[in-house]
């Protein structure tokens, strides 16, 4: 009986019909992978570098532009049609984000969506910044929307627009890992002193 089960399992693997969890370069290492780094500050910086794989993915950077216009796509080309941030981050008068972006990804047209679709504030421009500069930005309450580190962590780990990065719809490549694994990394980064890469 046991042998029969093994045989069945092997044949299923050969046939490729068993669900599997691929391990790829787009996965995130868990915080425990960094436990071997004895120096606390160095461990904290390493945790942020790992989380930075998400922060510097096109899914995040496209809506954290320098200037008034977002970018789009894996190659981060200018958003088409021309749109601007506007006074509230949700577009110009007469050309709001909601003119095209609805509450959810719409597969019929391929247009992505979320109820809170918007651009990051100009103070949170990440494009053209190093990871160390992005780190300094997101820690600074004067530029991060007045958030404490705890509030920042809650935003990164639970905000649904941040979460869209892992559910972008269409043929878009999701951000690395999951929002849960990203949240675990940023929590460990804060717990280890929230040090920034040099």
């Amino acid at each position: 009986m046991r042998m029969a089960k093994r045989t069945q399992l092997w044949s299923l693997l050969v046939l490729g019909v068993l669900p599997c969890v691929p391990v790829s370069a787009t996965d995130l290492q868990p915080p425990a992978s960094f436990d071997g780094i004895a120096d606390r500050a160095e461990r904290s910086r390493s945790l942020f570098v790992e989380a930075g794989k998400v922060l510097q993915s096109p899914r995040c950077l496209n809506c954290h532009p320098v200037g008034e216009r977002p970018t789009q796509g894996a190659d981060m080309h200018p958003h088409g049609p021309l749109v601007v941030r506007g006074p509230d981050g949700k577009g110009a008068v007469g050309m709001r984000c909601t003119t095209c972006h609805q509450a959810a990804n719409f597969e019929a047209s391929g247009v992505p969506g979320n109820p809170d679709w918007q651009l990051a504030p100009a103070t949170m421009a990440w494009q053209q910044r190093t990871l160390g500069q992005i780190c300094a930005l997101i820690k600074d309450p004067k530029r991060n929307g007045g958030r404490t580190l705890e509030q920042l962590q809650a935003h990164l780990a639970h905000d649904t627009l941040v979460g869209w990065s892992w559910n972008p719809g269409g043929k878009r490549e999701p951000a690395p890992g999951t929002q849960e694994s990203f949240g675990a990394l940023t929590a460990a980064w804060i717990a280890s002193g929230a040090e920034c890469p040099r």
């Binding site: 110009a92 050309m95 909601t98 609805q102 019929a108 247009v111």
Partner: protein
């Protein structure tokens, strides 16, 4: 699945797949063919309608999301601003082939309802998503300014 809509002030019920793009419900189920299909991917603006007074690309919105909201198509435009825009469009002979013009007018009216005295930059930003293959952009801009002037005369 029956979906209740309010289109041009009238209650309408359609029995369609809730994920159907609003555009096809407007054109095929309600017979309001003034709203045009151009690209189907929110890149041209030909399918623009108003939802609660804001412009919306009807090719990129599921019809189920429109319940409880006020939809206006080109056939239902009747405000003072809309009449000023329509007059300006005729006075300046804006239209060439005309295919994009219902979308252009919907966007222009939505802009003027919110910003009665738009600058050139305001117009560029509001109208950037409405493409005209005849390149009548200069006349569109002039007509929006003319409608604004008419509203303030």
């Amino acid at each position: 699945m029956p979906i209740e809509l309010n289109v041009n002030g009238q209650a309408r019920t359609v029995d369609v797949d809730p994920e159907t793009p609003l555009l096809w419900v407007i054109r095929d189920d309600l017979g309001l063919t003034g709203t045009k299909y151009g690209c189907g991917i929110a890149q041209c603006g030909a399918c623009t309608v108003h939802v609660d007074g804001e412009p919306l690309r009807s090719c990129s919105a599921p019809v189920a999301a429109m319940s409880g909201r006020q939809l206006t198509t080109i056939e239902g435009l009747s405000s003072r601003t809309a009449k000023a825009v329509q007059k300006a469009w005729v006075d300046l002979d804006v239209v060439q082939c005309g295919y994009c013009q219902s979308g252009q007018i919907m966007s222009a009216v939505a802009l003027l309802e919110k910003l009665p005295r738009p600058t050139d930059l305001d117009i560029d930003h509001a109208m950037a998503g409405n493409i005209c293959r005849c390149a009548t952009y200069h006349r569109i801009r002039a007509a929006i300014h003319a409608a604004s002037a008419q509203l303030h005369a």
